[in-house]
Structure formats: structure tokens, C-alpha cells
């Protein structure tokens, strides 16, 4: 709204090198991490399962949110109203198409299925970015409409009313554990530093931030906007597709597989301290956000509020999260203006 309240570049010359993950002095996700610890403690105390087992259970489903959260983070960082609302539809469609392509379920079949679902993600990402660039329509409307069309395609694919069963080979592959931690959590752990480098050290990552902070300044600086937007939506599409197809192995195939991830993917990013207006993103923040939401949902389930209570809780949570994020932003500004 107000141009002046754009955040400064992470590579602010006054503070030397840009932080790789986040600057600990700003600690955008600190509040959220404290919230995670509190929730973890409460849940561990109520559920009588032990602290480690609670976190392990949370991680086993938070990793799906983490994967889509990373993609959403890149898109939101573009600013200018960029939010990917097609994520839930991509998850469902890629899961349905990918599992169908796995057929009998031999190792090659499973790999082909994974490739097919990644292909779905690439297609949707390209359509999103292409429509945004060519039609000059608000990204929200484009991703909303593209999501609806993808939903319809998923519906056509399952018009017989029967879902293909997920091959057991794929299910066991997704539930492999090393050192007591699930393979998908390892994937997220491995992906995080890579994404950190991409966001903070590559031309692409810096371009995303530059566009998010000030589009016209980025243009004058020679940032290739079109290419950057395409890559951001591609990454978001591919991660959503992977998350979707793996979620099918974890929770079974269904048309509304991705539905809960519409709001939570945005919330995880914002909770982590990335700015909804774009231009600032933190990878470690997405971890904080995803864990916070995962534990919050588990708490709501333990509290047994029923569906209406869950909906109201989620809605109120978003407003609360954005309130905190806004307060944090104002605090940072004040600290900066005082030197």
C-alpha cells in the first residue's frame, strides 16, 4: 500500500553479507518457533506419547505442507499480488494422474508415475506463468481459474467414481525411515539448504526478491521479469505435484486431497516471517510455519472441536498470524529508523 514500507534488500550494505537463511538479529520466525515449542510441550503432555514421538508424528505429515510451502514461498516473494492458488488442484490432479501411471507398481512404473506427476506440475506452472504474463490478469485470478480447470480435469479422470489404488511398492517407498526419520522429512531437510542458496545467492533468487520489493526498480536494474516469474511458478507447480503424489501414498487418493493446503500453504509461509507483500522470504521460516500449523491442527483434533470449530480456528489463526507478522514488520522498521 505505502511504497515506503518496503523492506530493504537482505544484502543491505550496512550489515555486510546477506544472511544465508535469515539474520538472527531479525529472527522473523522466532515467535513462531517459540509457538512450536509451546504447542509441542502441550501436545506431548496431553497425548502421553512422549516428546520425540509427538514431533515424529507431526513431521510425518508436516513434510507435505513443507514441500508446497517452499513453492508458495517463492511465488509470494515475487510480490505484486502473486500467490499460487492452484496448489491444491495441482496436488490432486498430479496424484490422480501419477498414481494411474504407476499401473502395476514395479520400480520403473513408480518412477514413470513420479515423472508424469512432475510433468503435470510443470504444465500447470507454465500455464499459470504464461497466462499471467500474456493476459496481464491478476495472478490470483489466473491461479484460481487454472486451479478450477485442473480440478475439472481431475474430475474427468475419475468420472467412473473409482480411484486407482496406490501401488504397495510406492507406499512402502514413501514410508521408509532412516534413523527414525521418514524419507520425506529427509528430502525436506536436504532441499532446505539448496533452496536457501537459490533464494539468497543465485541470480534467480535475487531477481525474485528484487521484483517483490520494487517491480519498476527491478526492471530498471535489468532483472528479467518474465523468466523469473516462469521459474518461480514452475518450482511451485513441481513441488506441489511431488507433495500431492506422495500424499496419495500416505493418506489415500481422493479428489479433495489438496484442499486443506490452499490456506495452510500461505499461512506457513507468512508464519515463518516472509512478507505477504513479497520481497523477503526465509526457508527456515517455512519450517517454523509448517511445524506450527501441523501441531496446531493436531491440538484442534485433540480438543475435538468438530469441523465448524476447526474452520473457525483456521480462519482466526490466519488473522492472528498476519497481525503478528505486521507487528514484527513495524518493529523491524522502528529498529532500522533508530539506527
Amino acid at each position: 500500500m505505502v511504497r515506503g514500507d518496503r523492506p530493504m534488500l537482505r544484502g543491505d550494505p550496512r550489515r555486510g553479507r546477506a544472511g544465508l537463511w535469515c539474520d538472527i538479529r531479525e529472527a522473523p520466525a522466532l515467535v513462531t518457533f517459540v509457538g512450536v515449542l509451546v504447542e509441542w510441550g502441550i501436545l506431548g503432555a496431553i497425548a502421553h506419547r512422549g516428546v520425540a514421538a509427538t514431533m515424529e508424528a507431526t513431521l510425518s505429515y508436516a513434510c507435505f505442507l513443507l514441500l508446497v510451502g517452499f513453492g508458495q514461498m517463492l511465488v509470494i516473494a515475487l510480490g505484486n499480488g502473486n500467490i499460487d492458488l492452484s496448489i491444491p488442484a495441482v496436488m490432486s490432479l498430479s496424484a490422480i494422474v501419477g498414481v494411474a501411471a504407476m499401473g502395476a507398481g514395479s520400480t520403473t512404473d513408480i518412477l514413470i508415475g513420479l515423472l508424469v506427476s512432475v510433468g503435470v506440475g510443470i504444465c500447470v506452472g507454465l500455464v499459470n506463468a504464461g497466462s499471467i504474463l500474456l493476459l496481464r490478469v491478476p495472478p490470483l485470478i489466473v491461479t484460481l481459474a487454472v486451479g478450477l480447470v485442473a480440478d475439472a480435469l481431475a474430475l474427468v479422470r475419475t468420472s467412473s467414481g473409482e480411484y486407482a489404488s496406490v501401488p504397495p511398492g510406492f507406499v512402502s517407498a514413501v514410508s521408509i525411515r532412516f534413523l527414525g526419520i521418514g524419507v520425506l522429512t529427509w528430502v525436506c531437510l536436504g532441499l532446505s539448504p539448496i533452496l536457501g542458496v537459490i533464494v539468497h545467492r543465485t541470480v534467480f533468487g535475487r531477481s525474485v526478491s528484487a521484483i517483490g520489493q520494487n517491480r519498476s526498480a527491478a526492471w530498471f536494474a535489468g532483472v528479467r521479469e518474465g523468466r523469473t516469474i516462469v521459474v518461480a511458478y514452475l518450482i511451485s507447480g513441481v513441488l506441489a505435484a511431488l507433495s500431492g503424489v506422495c500424499l496419495a501414498a500416505y493418506a489415500g487418493l481422493s479428489l479433495d486431497l489438496g484442499t486443506p493446503y490452499l490456506l495452510t500453504s500461505i499461512a506457513a509461509v507468512i508464519l515463518g516471517g516472509s512478507l505477504i507483500t513479497g520481497g523477503r522470504s526465509t526457508v527456515i521460516g517455512v519450517w517454523a510455519g509448517a511445524l506450527f500449523l501441523g501441531l496446531a491442527l493436531a491440538l484442534l483434533e485433540v480438543a475435538n472441536t468438530g469441523v465448524p470449530g476447526q474452520y473457525i480456528g483456521e480462519g482466526v489463526l490466519i488473522f492472528a498470524v498476519l497481525g503478528l507478522s505486521r507487528a514484527n514488520q513495524l518493529l523491524i522498521q522502528r529498529r532500522r529508523s533508530h539506527g
Binding site: 514500507d5 485470478i141 500461505i266 480462519g315 498476519l322
Partner: protein
């Protein structure tokens, strides 16, 4: 663009086109009773489109209107019959809740889409808490108003006109209407004149809430019951109706007559879809494509004009 007339003509052309197709499929659509039947279902969408128009004019997008109408429907069907005063107060409280949503969007500087998305969960949750299963009844006065048969012109047409005329006067002839449009096309310009953005959002979201409640009453009259989730598709339909009716996502444009004509066009288009046996599951996707199509067409027209 100086006048709204080109926008109204575009929406009028769209409405007439779709109406002709509908009449081509089913001649009885054009009769008094047929008009009454087809247009009565348009009434909630007309109110929803009007509500959406007041949000789009200030450059925001509201994706909670469908669930809000569902909630107003639930409140009306639950509380208006046993205690009219209490019911009316609750409906006013709903408008206040809509204004609060606008305030939060302004104060937390969040995109309107995200704020309304979060609010839609709250509307849906409260609606489901009131009516997990469809139920409730409409008050008698609402039903008799709705079923009245005025001579020559069916009631729904009169009701749609009643929605469009005062809003047109408000948007075109009052200071507040001009300020809303001005705020929508350039918030910084109105800020220079000392107009508070918070006040503009309060007015816009308040009016949107009023038309949302009107939409909820219309749904209650049509179904004579409450079903909070069945109004959800109205969100997308309302956005499409407002855009077909001449609104711009960038803000600054509000054409009430266009929005009503857009609602007629979009609603009849979904009726035609059922004539050609497109399953209702695909309705959302088709409306999404209509929306993208309208926007693409407008962009092409603008490019040719230049």
C-alpha cells in the same frame, strides 16, 4: 473512458446473447412464468454481484461472499421466525462483521484476497455450527413478498431493478460514490486530499455486507430453508458477473446496471449448461473459463483501440 455506457452495452449484449440461446433451447423461458422461474434464481447472484462490485471498485477482491450469503441465509432461517427483532439485529451484526473484515485487511496490510479467504472459513464454520444439516424456515412476510405476482413485470425483474437504480445514483451522483471510485483508481491521490483509506474500506465493506445480507434473504426466500454451504458457488459467479458487467480488477470502475446484467448473463449461462447436459460438477471450471475469456476479450479490445 468518459461514460459507463459502453460497459453497460457490452454487458447488455452478453445478457441478450445468453438469454436468446436459453430461449432457443427452451421457448418457455420467455413466458411470464418462465421469466419468473429463471430470474428468481438470479436474484441472490444479483445481490452477490452488487456486493462484489463494491469491493472490486476499491481494487480489492472478495472471495468470501458465497459463504457469507450462506451464513446470512442460516441466520435468517434460524432467528427471523421466532424473534424478528433479534434476527434483524443479528443480520446487522453480520454487516458489522463484514466491516471488521475490511478494517483488518486495511490495518494488517494484507491482500484482500487472503483476508477474505480466511474470513470465508469463519463464515462457513459459523454457518455449519448453526446448520450442520439443511433446515429452518423463511418468515412469512419474506415468502409472500417473494411470491407476489405484480401485473406485466414478474417480481424478480422488479427486484433486480430495485438493486440497480439506487446504487447507480449512489455511485454516480453522490460524493461518497465518487470518492470510492477515486480511491479505487488511485489511493495515493485520494490520500493527498485527506481521505482516510480506512474510512473508504469501511464504506465499501459495509455496503458489500448489506448486499450480502440481501442475497442471504433472497436465498432464504427461494429455498425456504437454510443450507450454509450451498451458496458457496456464488463467490466465483459474482466475480464473473461483476467483471462481465464492466468492473476492473485494478479498481476505479463500478457499473451497477452492468453488474446486474452480468449476473443475468452468467446465471443464464449456467442454466444453458444444464440444458446441454454438462454435469454441475464442471460448473466452476466453466465459470472460471468465462472469467478468463471475458478478461482476455477486454485486453484484446483495448489493444485494438490503441
Amino acid at each position: 473512458m468518459s461514460g459507463d455506457m459502453p460497459r453497460i452495452w457490452m454487458a447488455f449484449a452478453a445478457a441478450i446473447c445468453v438469454w436468446s440461446i436459453a430461449v432457443g433451447f427452451e421457448g418457455r423461458v420467455a413466458s411470464y412464468v418462465g421469466t419468473e422461474l429463471t430470474f428468481s434464481t438470479i436474484l441472490p447472484l444479483g445481490a452477490a454481484a452488487m456486493s462484489e462490485m463494491f469491493i472490486i471498485v476499491i481494487g480489492d477482491i472478495d472471495i468470501s461472499i458465497g459463504f457469507f450469503i450462506g451464513l446470512a441465509n442460516a441466520v435468517a432461517a434460524r432467528f427471523l421466525v421466532p424473534d424478528p427483532l433479534w434476527g434483524a439485529l443479528l443480520l446487522v451484526a453480520l454487516v458489522a462483521a463484514y466491516m471488521l473484515m475490511g478494517v483488518l485487511i486495511q490495518v494488517l496490510t494484507m491482500p484482500a484476497l487472503l483476508g477474505t479467504l480466511a474470513a470465508s472459513f469463519i463464515w462457513e464454520g459459523i454457518g455449519l455450527a448453526l446448520y450442520p444439516m439443511p433446515g429452518g424456515t423463511a418468515p412469512q412476510w419474506l415468502l409472500s413478498l417473494y411470491n407476489s405476482q405484480p401485473p406485466f413485470v414478474p417480481f424478480p425483474i422488479i427486484a433486480l431493478a430495485v438493486l440497480a437504480v439506487p446504487t447507480t445514483w449512489y455511485i454516480r451522483r453522490t460524493r461518497q460514490g465518487a470518492l470510492l471510485r477515486g480511491f479505487g483508481s488511485d489511493p495515493r491521490a485520494t490520500a493527498t486530499f485527506g481521505i482516510s483509506a480506512l474510512k473508504m474500506r469501511l464504506i465499501a465493506y459495509g455496503l458489500a455486507g448489506v448486499f450480502g445480507v440481501i442475497g442471504g434473504l433472497a436465498v432464504t426466500a427461494i429455498s425456504n430453508s437454510a443450507s450454509p454451504t450451498s451458496s458457496a458457488p456464488l463467490t466465483l459467479l459474482a466475480i464473473a458477473a461483476a467483471i462481465v458487467g464492466g468492473s476492473e480488477f485494478s479498481g476505479g470502475f463500478a457499473v451497477p446496471v452492468g453488474a446486474i446484467l452480468g449476473a443475468i448473463a452468467v446465471s443464464l449461462a449456467t442454466t444453458v449448461l444444464t440444458f446441454v447436459n454438462v454435469p454441475s460438477n464442471y460448473q466452476d471450471a466453466v465459470v472460471g473459463l468465462i472469467l478468463l475469456g471475458a478478461l482476455t476479450l477486454r485486453m484484446l479490445v483495448r489493444r485494438v483501440e490503441r
